[in-house]
């Protein structure tokens, strides 16, 4: 028995050194050398300040921006979290109805337009960076209105969405989505050149 315990201690040590030190440190080194941007969180730095991560959604309440998906944690991942509401929970049903009305109201959409599901339901991570292309396009009219720019720019903004659309990876994997933070950054950048409507 004593022999077994001593052997176990030695094996514990072996596995800890091998898989708890050598392995993660090697991956750290490789990651930091080959993919330093990703390994450090794909942070977006502007004028020396971190303004977010390409992988994280942000809360956009201002009507001049594309809005992200509903989040149970208001995009502050400390800790990350979801609503965990069940389909049989009355609160979820209520939330979905409210979001439907709000999305239509905010974006001047008629009742006949179906609000895409991603805008009705909160995400799993609470920081989902994406929305569907459809959800983005339904917001264009509002953005034009609140940015007070020429309605002719509708096509330009629509093209902007298309240019940032992420298609299924390798043509098969995943959904067609657009990153809201990238989209809003691009929108801010582009709109500097657009004159506001007289």
């Amino acid at each position: 028995m004593k022999k077994i315990i001593i052997q176990s201690l030695k094996m514990f040590l072996m596995i800890t050194v091998l898989t708890g030190l050598i392995y993660p440190l090697a991956i750290l080194l490789i990651g930091q050398i080959i993919f330093p941007f990703q390994a450090n969180g794909s942070l977006i730095v502007k004028n020396g300040k971190v303004i977010g991560s390409e992988l994280f959604g942000q809360n956009f309440s201002d009507s001049i921006y594309f809005q992200s998906r509903p989040s149970a944690i208001n995009y502050n991942p400390m800790p990350s979290g979801a609503s965990n509401l069940a389909l049989s929970n009355a609160l979820l049903k209520e939330q979905v109805n409210t979001r439907k009305l709000e999305f239509r109201g905010n974006n001047f959409l008629s009742d006949s337009i179906n609000v895409p599901s991603d805008m009705l339901f909160a995400s799993g991570s609470g920081v989902d960076p994406h929305i569907s292309v459809e959800s983005a396009k339904l917001q264009i009219y509002r953005i034009i209105k609140y940015r007070n720019i020429n309605p002719e720019k509708f096509k330009l903004i629509s093209n902007l969405i298309d240019s940032l659309t992420e298609y299924p990876q390798f043509g098969v994997l995943g959904n067609q989505v657009v990153n809201v933070l990238s989209l809003n950054l691009k929108l801010d950048e582009e709109s500097k050149q657009w004159k506001t409507k007289k």
Partner: protein, 564 residues
């Protein structure tokens, strides 16, 4: 939704899984028997070096009792180490966020959870654990508990294939080879690919961003990639961050998602072929693989149908609550079925918000005993118990002494097999009964109505099945759940390991009777059908009453528009 694309992704997944599992399974067989293999030029020297440094006698052969005591001793030391690291994390290095020591009961629960390959998490990593504890505590257990499970399977396969033997191999050698030749190489490849897809691997403290609208957003970081790779490969499932693989830093692209969900099933599926080679019957391996695949595919199809059809109750095209836009419904469903079939427990979607019958599939997967691929090693040795039961029942039907690979299956084996099958089931039902009738149990529920019952049922199924996923609305960090789920995890792990090794110890001594015309074949479709029936009948009889007052009744209520 694009059904065609979903279907194509599924076919791709199944094809790649089968292909890789077959080759890795055969490769690992060579590793196990010490034959020259593709990695031996690279790893033979380190392997021998480990034996030399740690004075392991490679040729020592262990009886089943020595093998079992070694498993238990290592698990106990691992448990103490992980517990202490958490209790004193603020005095340890690599804690840039200055996180305080973990409270005792939570630390206890977490230590049991990771040592038993469960990875039930009553905490959120980003606000609870330092990089030190994650990397040197939890990630190490992801390797150790996985390797221990695989080693036990190897011991079992020797017991079946040795003629009148006494020993089952050497636990330390099995453990070392599994880590070195199987887990580490795959984890290295996977973690590097994951980093390229956005998964973080850094020691920096959390970034603080000032968002476009001026709000402050804390961006948690850490050495995540190395841990996430092994969390999937070792069917551990414990997330580095709270929401697991739904979190962008754990799983950002559809490609990383595909690789992770593939990794969940990869090793359990491969081991089926390793097992077949060790028993010298590839057809038997395919029989087991087909049964597992059948239940798995049925689960995915049923769950997907449920999710699509239930969307009408919300007058919308897709149910996206708790799901990430980049994955959509299909990838979320595929993951939820794979992770519960395989005793993994990682999630990329919130299981609590699945449609009732999709939730039913996840529960049933766990309750069948985590044998549909199951945990690494543990899935197949759990399946072995069901095979024994099937052999026994069919033997009674044809009036012959039941045999498995020429070894007589007698009352000793059947008694232990029944114990191994019953312990987890009894734990699930009794603990759920306690949880749903006491204030301590009920206080943690988030969703009211039948779904609240499902949350409790899920917690104990997950604990006893060593799965680790949750209907996460349940507040698990309470005295009641930390203690009760802790006990469930221990019973679910060792309540199966001990019977399996006891059976192995008895089987190995037996002679191998030659096949005759009357021998019940265990490698044909008839046996596959019998096995499948036994699994479903045992699972259904045990859990149908509980499931019907949980997800099944919820389904009908949701259909008729009733909410709570």
């Amino acid at each position: 939704m694009n059904y065609l694309l979903d279907f194509f992704q599924f076919i791709l997944f199944l094809g790649l899984l089968t292909f890789l599992a077959y080759y890795i399974g055969n490769y690992f067989y060579k590793v196990v028997i010490g034959e020259k293999n593709i990695l031996s030029p690279l790893l033979l020297k380190p392997e021998k070096l480990i034996y030399k440094i740690f004075r392991i006698d490679e040729n020592e052969q262990m009886s089943w009792k020595t093998y079992l005591w070694s498993v238990l001793a290592l698990s106990f030391i691992n448990f103490i180490a992980v517990l202490l690291m958490q209790l004193f994390q603020q005095y340890l290095p690599l804690n840039p966020q200055k996180l305080p020591n973990v409270e005792f009961l939570l630390a206890l629960n977490t230590a049991i959870s990771f040592v038993t390959n469960t990875n039930w998490q009553a905490y959120s990593g980003e606000t609870t654990l330092s990089y030190f504890v994650q990397m040197l505590g939890l990630a190490v257990q992801n390797f150790a508990s996985a390797a221990a499970g695989i080693a036990i399977l190897l011991a079992l396969s020797r017991a079946i294939s040795f003629r009148k033997g006494t020993t089952l191999g050497n636990f330390w050698v099995d453990l070392t080879r599994t880590v070195l030749y199987l887990l580490l190489p795959l984890a290295i490849i996977l973690s590097i690919i994951l980093i390229s897809q956005g998964v973080v691997q850094t020691f920096s403290s959390y970034a603080v961003a000032k968002t476009i609208e001026g709000a402050q957003q804390v961006i948690p970081l850490g050495p995540a990639a190395s841990q996430i790779a092994i969390k999937q490969l070792g069917t551990n499932g414990g997330g580095f961050f709270g929401v697991n693989s739904a979190f962008p830093f754990e799983n950002f692209t559809p490609f990383s998602n595909f690789l992770q969900v593939l990794s969940i099933l990869l090793i359990p599926a491969s081991l089926v072929f390793t097992y077949g080679r060790m028993l010298g019957n590839k057809k038997h391996a395919w029989m087991i693989f087909d049964v597992m695949m059948f239940v798995f595919i049925s689960g995915v199809a049923f769950s997907y149908w449920s999710e699509v059809s239930a969307s009408s109750t919300y007058h919308t095209s897709q149910l996206m609550e708790g799901k990430e836009a980049r994955f959509g419904v299909f990838n979320s469903i595929l993951w939820s079925v794979a992770t519960t079939a395989a005793s993994n427990g990682s999630v990329n979607t919130m299981l609590d918000s699945l449609s009732p019958l999709s939730g039913f599939v996840t529960l049933l997967n766990i309750q069948l005993g985590e044998i549909i691929f199951g945990g690494v090693g543990s899935g197949l040795y759990g399946m072995f118990l069901f095979i024994l039961l099937t052999v026994f029942i069919s033997g009674l039907m044809v009036g012959r002494t039941p045999e498995y690979f020429g070894k007589k299956i007698e009352s000793y084996e059947i008694k232990w097999a029944i114990i191994g099958i019953l312990i987890p089931s009894v734990v699930v039902l009794f603990f759920t009964a306690i949880g749903s009738t006491t204030n301590q149990g009920l206080a943690s529920i988030l969703n009211k109505g039948p779904h609240g019952f499902s949350e409790i049922l899920y917690a104990f199924s997950s604990g006893a099945g060593n799965n680790g996923s949750a209907f996460a609305g349940l507040n698990a960090n309470t005295v009641f759940y930390n203690v009760m789920v802790g006990i469930a995890m221990l019973l679910g792990r060792f309540g199966v390991i001990i019977p399996v090794l006891a059976i192995a110890g008895n089987l190995v001594k037996k002679n191998i009777a030659p096949d005759t015309a009357g021998t019940l074949r265990t490698d044909n479709p008839l046996f596959a059908f019998l096995l499948l029936s036994v699994i479903l009948i045992v699972g259904a009889l045990t859990f149908f009453p509980a499931l019907s007052i949980g997800p099944i009744i919820e389904h009908f209520l949701v259909q008729s528009g009733i909410t709570f």
